[in-house]
């Protein structure tokens, strides 16, 4: 049985559709830029969706004051997929999965006067989004740090192949907030200039906000399938990756093993541009004999969009397969990891049939999934 990856969307500063995002990526346009926030004198380099743009779009769907920034992003993203696919979320054969790390964290920060404080709970946030689409079931929520989005896609595949549901829309989303900016800053993990994944001069991450959605189905709705996917834990440290890349290696090994293939045409890596993460990935890919496979990270364009990242990057991977395009890994110039990697330096068109998507996160978690043309 196959699970297909169909209609999809990206809501980001680069656009409100997948097409507009892909166009920007092909032109090498990045969403991350230096900006000031009222809460700090420091500059932050991050990608943030303009409230006015979001409200202009959202006002065509519903009242802008009734929803939070994140809820509006999610509803716009899911609505695009619903419109494209005709999937009815009322129908109990269909499910909505939301992946997020912090949900409406701005509600907990007290950013809204007219929004009930309970919406700061992830389940209430998800229910609000689900209610907009009259979902037959309360949306399933996956909150597993930075692998949330990719893990949600793997979970969706498993539920479909278990015949629990026929169609599942996975929406990954997180916002820029003082909460996450101050937290990552306290880790000294933020870069004040655009992130440079895998580069020798990388100094840290940019944060970003986005909502991205994709439809998975047991019906042959597209020519791309998710062939396999697994997660694994480093069992090493809660805030630092394993030096040996153990968890990522295990997730990749199991994922390639399940599909009985040895290599892939390209890798959509996690690549946060921190010293330790990128180094860990180079070790894991080298152990998996994938060091010659063309690889990119999209963090130089979007920053790290946390719970959205796995979905957003999977959507771009699917589009890359469909258009036979290897997208340049923004910010990369000189090898900066102890092990060799084939980081894509220039966007090029080339026939590609398979993609390995990976993610790693706090709590020692790692995930890998294989997307292939049917």
């Amino acid at each position: 049985m196959n699970t297909y990856l169909g209609a999809n969307n990206i809501v980001s500063p680069l656009g409100f559709t997948t097409a507009s995002n892909m166009e920007a990526l092909l032109q090498g346009t990045a969403a991350v830029k230096q900006q000031h926030f009222p809460f700090s004198e420091s500059l932050f380099c991050c990608s943030k969706i303009e409230e006015t743009d979001l409200n202009t779009r959202f006002s065509r769907l519903s009242k802008i004051d009734a929803f939070t920034h994140l809820e509006k992003m999610c509803i716009l993203s899911i609505n695009d997929v619903v419109k494209q696919s005709g999937i009815d979320l009322k129908n109990k054969e269909n499910l909505l999965i939301i992946s997020t790390t912090k949900g409406n964290i701005d509600v907990l920060e007290g950013a809204y006067k007219n929004i009930d404080s309970h919406r700061g709970y992830l389940s209430e946030f998800a229910k609000t989004v689900g209610k907009f689409f009259d979902c037959g079931f309360a949306p399933l929520v996956v909150s597993n740090a930075c692998i949330s989005g990719l893990l949600a896609i793997i979970i969706a595949k498993r539920l479909i192949e278990n015949k629990s549901y026929k169609n599942i829309i996975v929406c990954g989303a997180d916002i820029i907030s003082e909460f996450t900016l101050s937290g990552f800053k306290s880790f000294n993990a933020l870069s004040e200039v655009p992130a440079r994944p895998f580069d020798k001069n990388r100094i840290g991450i940019n944060l970003g906000e986005a909502a991205s959605s994709i439809l998975l189905s047991s019906d042959a709705i597209s020519t791309i399938k998710i062939s396999s996917g697994n997660s694994a834990n480093d069992a090493n440290h809660i805030s630092g990756p394993s030096r040996n890349g153990d968890g990522l290696f295990q997730a990749v090994k199991n994922t390639l093993g399940d599909s009985k293939i040895k290599t892939v045409d390209f890798i959509s890596a996690h690549g946060t541009a921190t010293e330790y993460n990128d180094e860990m990935e180079s070790v894991a890919f080298s152990r998996a004999q994938l060091h010659q496979v063309p690889l990119n990270s999209l963090k130089g364009y979007y920053g790290h969009t946390l719970g959205a990242a796995g979905v957003l990057e999977s959507v771009v991977a699917v589009q890359s397969l469909l258009s036979n395009t290897l997208i340049q890994s923004a910010g990369f110039d000189t090898k900066g990891t102890s092990h060799e990697l084939n980081v894509i330096k220039k966007t090029e068109h080339k026939v590609i049939n398979s993609c390995l998507k990976t993610a790693s996160g706090f709590g020692g978690c790692n995930a890998a999934a294989l997307f292939e043309k049917v």
Binding site: L122, S182, F187, D234, S239, G364
Partner: protein, 218 residues
């Protein structure tokens, strides 16, 4: 479904039950922090990392320890084949509130990395993975209440050979902390054919039994 539940621990209202039997009652603690410290002492854990954890992780570690102590086969599992599949309603909300307190006052702005790292619910999965060296599958779900149907469906998929050969056993359940209220329910599941001759507690795993065990607090 070819899975069995081989041990479980429930912690609620300063009381601990193991495999349905009352194991420990603390009538003195007035808050969850003190209760968790008392229970830690009671278990003689000698795990200094415990004191760095937030209450969510402390609760999860103690419930997991008791579930594992009562699972005679635990040391026979290959550690890369043990999945951790947890859920709660409040995510990491207590630590979220504490992090917000550190950034609320511009004159006393001290966000701390050792606190911030606990603002993710799956950190408890990481803590369990580290303590017991478990490198298998991970998943953290959010649901308003303990959702036995969701957990049972997903855990059964993990243990189902046809879909995945990577999981022999699952540490599963619910760990929730909100304000001074905490509730932990951790169970060990294994493939029904793992050791057909195992002795002691064992029950078939389905949403009815798990619902019953979750509610079995006299």
């Amino acid at each position: 479904m070819k899975a069995k539940i081989v041990s479980y621990c429930k912690i609620k209202n300063n009381t601990v039950w193991v495999n349905g039997e009352k194991f420990y009652v603390d009538n003195q603690s007035v808050d969850i922090t003190t209760f968790l410290a008392h229970l830690y002492k009671q278990l003689n854990l000698n795990y200094p990392k415990f004191f760095k954890m937030d209450n969510l992780c402390k609760l999860g570690i103690l419930a997991t320890e008791l579930a594992i102590q009562n699972n005679s086969e635990f040391n026979n599992y290959e550690k890369d084949k043990v999945a951790i599949s947890l859920s709660n309603n409040s995510s990491s909300i207590e630590t979220d509130r504490n992090h917000i307190k550190t950034i609320a006052d511009k004159n006393q702005y001290f966000p701390s990395p050792s606190l911030f790292v606990y603002t993710l619910p799956n950190i408890i999965i990481g803590e369990i993975a580290i303590k017991y060296k478990l490198t298998g599958e991970n998943s953290f779900f959010i649901s308003e209440k303990f959702d036995e149907n969701l957990m049972c469906t997903y855990d059964s998929i993990l243990l189902n050979e046809a879909q995945s050969s990577h999981t022999t056993a699952v540490i599963g359940g619910w760990v929730n902390v909100d304000g001074n209220e905490g509730e932990g329910f951790i169970y060990c599941l294994e493939k029904a054919n793992f050791n057909p001759d195992r002795t002691g507690f064992s029950s078939s795993y389905n949403s009815e039994t798990i619902h019953k065990f979750y509610n079995k607090t006299e």
